[in-house]
Symmetry: C2
Subunit: 133 residues, 2 copies
DNA sequence: AATTAAATTGTAATCATTACAAATTAGTGT
DNA sequence: ACACTAATTTGTAATGATTACAATTTAATT
């Protein structure tokens, strides 16, 4: 996904197109590793040493607010982020710490009568295939 | 649930029966409000002023480890706890902050081939019935 | 009652996240 | 191209949940 495409997306969402915001979103789109803020920050600093940690938090928050990112709250101590906003489940391997996506159709998950559900998260944890071998 | 019953449960799990641990578990069993550690601590201190916050954390951890409690990681900033260990979903109202249980049969949720799933969590958020009215 | 390993306590440290204010910049209009 | 304004970025300091740790106490056993 190139900068031009991201610019268009930001424009359609009414977001200012700052280099920092574009870089964060580009990284998330190209690296579906569900990174946390610190991981994003360390990557950003590589190409722009003056990139601020606060900016990372600001960008991630903004991108979540406008629906371009999904926060993945599967860790106890930090929030991860996912640029794939289609509905799917997240599996965390407690051994290697990696997050895996898995298919999980929304209709398989039940809801509550009279409640307005705005977000649905399905989190599994256990041992991944690689760690079992 | 009385102290005698809890004593039996702890005994069967090989847990020491300390007054603090019993008090924490009793509170969780009798108050299905999915409290966080601070809420539990404040309640404990009411009847025992020397109750330590660390003890609350220790007890909650131990009770989770032996399967008597389920950690509910639906908040971004803190962990809640649930003494109902049967499989069900959790709904968080973003307006009032309350957590609601909802029925959610395990078979409705899909998994991943070759992965060993040890824990399954289904978290919804949105507006609860009361806040909508 | 003595013993011992585990639990409790209080304090200090850790670490992700947020608050805040000053400097910078993107987008708009001239 | 230039000026303007509101939004964004930056750096530092604060917050708050959780953990580390060492000394004291205690549950369970001999």
């Amino acid at each position: 996904m190139n900068t031009q495409q991201i610019s268009e997306i930001f424009k359609s969402k009414g977001l200012k197109r700052t280099p920092q915001r574009i870089a964060v979103y580009k990284f998330l789109k190209e690296n579906p590793i569900h990174p946390d803020a610190l991981t994003v920050y360390e990557k950003m600093v590589e190409s722009n040493p003056s990139f601020s940690k606060t900016t990372v938090y600001n960008c991630l928050q903004t991108l979540c607010d406008c629906g371009l990112l999904i926060p993945v709250n599967i860790d106890k101590d930090k929030i991860r982020f996912d640029a794939d906003t289609s509905f799917h489940g997240h599996f965390k391997c407690t051994k290697c710490g990696d997050i895996y996506d898995f298919q999980c159709t929304e209709s398989n998950v039940c809801g509550i009568e009279g409640f307005e559900t705005l977000q649905k998260d399905v989190y599994y944890s256990g041992i991944c295939k690689r760690c079992k071998e």
